[in-house]
């Protein structure tokens, strides 16, 4: 092993890291970030189970539930190991939680959920949601999601999140009671609308562009990697045929028999080794996928900024036009085209009383408009401030995580090469005895 022999748990330096070890490293990193929640409790998604029941339209359905376990941190360090608190949740509840967070913390880059349906699969992987391998990878992804939220400076202190982890019954009702659904609908409508912002914040525009590029390149990478994995599988498996033929051949040879037979065994081992190799690579693909979906969350924040900015600009525009109208009424000049102006031209001037009333109304509107602009301006500034803080935090997290992912990919390749060296050296020895 080409290792310095150091005992650090960090990924770098240890070339024999297993996927579970690198998972632990990630968890440790998140815990070290030290949100108050994580200081208090350990969170895990321990198991997955199939259930059947009646759905909303009273039809039988099969679905999977996941066991969320929480355990006070102190207990573990005190040496006692009490039974953790636990409750079962299904994927749709995780989705509900995330939607709530998206609406409630629009300036946060909200961690993504693992994919709803298996994508970027290669032929051996199942695209079936009920497939045990898929369920297992989803379990890991859901745990990752909870830990991400729990380590987020703003999201971790959310009460709905806390009760998601701790209150089995009535949680759904609690969420709906917050009235986030209404906000969600209007937010969705607004985000889907097309609008032009006059003075977009350059940084957000760049971030959105970055989000687009990230999504595009990671998709491409996942596609290409899946195809290569498929092919690599084929290469290894065909070597299994060597095993079979050597074995048959050894039966008809006298002196060559033993060498052939044992070489055949090594060929079988070589063919079988690809399963583990590709399973580990799937883990790497999952890490990439997380950031593929994170790109979406990033873009959502930028889009939300655009919306906020747009609303501010609309309010400002409205205020300006109202002020102009007041000016016209005061001076009697009509600079702006308005239906009122036209009709007054056509049908005669108004009485002084009518004009008086109009001016008074405008004044009120202008007052309200100025309040609104002030509000929206503050909103915008606060949004920009909070969002930019979280974006910076996200950037750091992304750089760190993806670098670790690349390193773990290199470690996987090294492990694969070492296995290959071993098998073929063994085979060579057997062949030389032929």
């Amino acid at each position: 092993m080409a290792d310095s022999g150091s005992e650090e748990i960090a990924v770098i330096g240890n070339t024999d890291l297993t996927p579970s070890e690198s998972e632990n490293n990630l968890k440790n990193t998140m815990v070290e970030k030290g949100t108050s929640l994580l200081k208090m409790m350990e969170i895990s998604v321990a198991e997955a189970e199939k259930r059947t029941g009646k759905n909303a339209v009273n039809m039988q359905e099969t679905y999977t539930v996941y066991l969320i376990e929480t355990r006070p941190v102190d207990a573990a360090s005190e040496g006692t190991n009490p039974v953790p608190d636990s409750l079962w949740r299904r994927y749709s509840e995780f989705e509900l939680l995330r939607n709530y967070l998206l609406v409630t913390y629009p300036f946060s880059v909200v961690p993504p959920l693992p994919e709803k349906r298996a994508e970027f699969v290669w032929h051996k992987l199942s695209a079936d949601n009920m497939d045990p391998d898929f369920v297992e990878r989803r379990r890991v992804g859901l745990e990752n999601f909870l830990l991400r939220v729990a380590s987020h400076p703003d999201l971790s202190s959310d009460k709905i999140f806390y009760s998601f982890l701790t209150e089995e019954n009535g949680w759904k009702e609690t969420v709906f009671e917050t009235g986030f659904q209404a906000k969600a609908d209007s937010r969705l409508k607004a985000l889907n609308a097309t609008f032009r912002v006059k003075n977009p914040d350059k940084r957000f525009a760049e971030m959105k562009h970055y989000g687009d590029e990230l999504q595009s390149v990671i998709s491409q990478l996942l596609r290409v990697r899946a195809r290569a994995a498929d092919r690599l599988y084929g290469v290894y498996k065909v070597h299994g045929n060597y095993g079979r033929v050597f074995s048959e051949w050894s039966a008809i040879e006298k002196e060559m028999g033993d060498g052939l037979q044992s070489a055949g065994h090594h060929m079988d081992a070589y063919a079988a080794s690809v399963d583990d190799i590709l399973e580990e690579e799937e883990h790497y693909a999952d890490q990439l996928k997380e950031y593929l979906f994170y790109a979406d969350a990033l873009r959502a924040v930028c889009r939300k900024h655009e919306l906020t900015q747009y609303e501010l600009e609309m309010a400002a525009q409205d205020l300006t036009s109202k002020k102009q109208q007041r000016e016209e009424l005061a001076t009697g000049t009509i600079r702006t085209f308005s239906l009122k102006g036209m009709t007054s031209k056509l049908f005669g001037q108004e009485t002084p009383e009518q004009r008086e009333a109009k001016v008074k109304m405008l004044e009120t509107q202008i007052e309200e408009g100025e309040e609104l602009v002030k509000e929206r301006n503050t909103e915008c500034e606060e949004f920009v401030k909070s969002a930019w803080v979280d974006i910076e935090r996200f950037k750091e997290q992304k750089d760190h995580d993806l670098r670790e992912a690349l390193i773990s990919y290199a470690i996987m390749q090294i492990s694969m090469c070492k296995k290959g060296i071993q098998v073929w050296n063994n085979a060579k020895e057997c062949f030389s005895k032929m």
Partner: protein
């Protein structure tokens, strides 16, 4: 009748089931017994190679009628039968075919190494494709070397002529040969024998036949498996070639991550190159050897058939002697000759069979050992690529103080 004879004559030259042991070859010693002695002597003799043959330098020739390739054949030897110590001639595939045919005619139960096939039907390889010519050249080189290493073949006059004769000489030599009348007579007899079949084949030759059947299947399977591996590797390579550029593309959108992404792209590209090397190695080294031994099995089957025919001929003559009343003296003479032929054929085959098995074992063992070694090298190179990446990441991290080595 003359045209029939002519046709038979042509078939003669290439139909190797025709002849028997009383050879056409002028330089061969007539006594089977002394032949066997020479053979045994050669086997016991130390392996002091006194003849070196190379095949290289393919050249294309265009005439009014055809286009063909010739290869340069260089011979270096200290043997006294050769007029000089160095020879250089040009030969085309047809000439190699001729040589092989002559050796088989002269020694029906000895095992001649196979020639590369006339053309590859699968894959539609063009005759003048560079890779095809190179593969063929190597196979022709191996063929001549196998002949030169063979205790009997290497002292064949035909072999000597092949290596030394000027083009005109070779052409006229080829036209010589025993009259077609005698060959025709042999053809008829041999066909009759073949139809009749052998009655009491010795057990060892039956075992040989069973072995050849089984071996033929196995080696053909290995050939196919290896070709399949090459195909799969090539397809893997196609996909892998897209990975590096994708990482490189990604690095363009990143700041902190740009370096590691570019490095990964570089690593993937280097592994691609190594994979390409590995595929080429399989193609150039393992596949030709497997393929040749697959062709060998056809030769072995033919050799066993010819031996059977010689025995069938002997059995027919024995029967004839027992039943006929007239011509008993001539028939007894014929029978003795047939018996000698059979004894000679059997012993020759047994010796050559042992030699062939030893050769096969050596060749296949070294081909597989070589393949395994190359695979180890391939993985070692890829390992180095990724380890250097890790190393650079570690030194980077230490430099930036990013890693917690607690």
């Amino acid at each position: 009748l003359l045209s029939q004879q002519l046709r038979l004559n042509e078939r003669d030259l290439h139909d190797t089931t025709v002849t028997d042991g009383s050879s056409f070859n002028a330089s061969m010693q007539t006594s089977p017994a002394s032949m066997i002695n020479q053979y045994k002597f050669e086997e016991d003799a130390e392996d002091t190679k006194d003849i070196f043959v190379t095949v290289d330098n393919p050249e294309s020739h265009v005439t009014a009628i055809e286009t063909y390739i010739t290869y340069r054949v260089v011979t270096k030897t200290t043997r006294s039968e050769f007029d000089s110590s160095e020879f250089e001639v040009r030969r085309r595939y047809q000439d190699f075919l001729w040589l092989k045919g002559r050796l088989e005619e002269a020694h029906p139960t000895l095992i001649v190494h196979p020639l590369p096939e006339k053309f590859v039907v699968k894959g539609m390889v063009e005759r003048f494709n560079e890779d095809f010519i190179e593969t063929r050249r190597r196979a022709l080189h191996r063929f001549l070397n196998k002949i030169a290493e063979h205790p009997i073949f290497s002292s064949s006059e035909d072999f000597k002529i092949f290596l030394t004769a000027a083009p005109g000489e070779l052409t006229s030599y080829k036209k010589q040969g025993p009259g077609f009348l005698s060959r025709m007579g042999e053809t008829v007899k041999a066909v009759a024998a073949a139809v009749r079949g052998v009655r009491n084949r010795p057990q060892e030759f039956t075992e040989m036949q069973e072995y050849v059947e089984a071996f033929s299947q196995k080696i053909s399977s290995l050939d196919k498996v290896t070709q399949r591996i090459v195909r799969e590797q090539k397809e893997y390579l196609e996909e892998l070639k897209e990975c590096g550029p994708t990482y490189a593309l990604w690095s363009q959108s990143e700041e902190e991550l740009a370096e590691p992404l570019k490095d990964v792209a570089g690593c993937v590209d280097r592994c691609c190159k190594e994979t390409e090397e590995q595929v080429k190695n399989l193609n150039d080294n393992l596949i030709p050897v497997l393929h040749e031994y697959a062709l060998c099995t056809d030769t072995l089957k033919a050799v066993l058939r010819r031996r059977d025919n010689i025995q069938a001929d002997f059995e027919a003559k024995t029967e004839a002697l027992a039943t006929k009343k007239a011509d008993r003296d001539t028939m007894r003479d014929d029978l003795d000759k047939a018996e000698d032929r059979l004894e000679w054929a059997n012993n020759a085959l047994k010796s050559d069979w042992t030699r062939w098995q030893k050769d096969m074992r050596t060749d296949l063992r070294s081909a597989f050992v070589d393949t395994a070694e190359r695979n180890v090298n391939y993985y070692e190179k890829c390992l180095a690529v990724w380890e250097s990446f890790l190393h650079s990441q570690r030194t980077d991290a230490e430099g930036n103080g990013n890693v917690d080595f607690s």
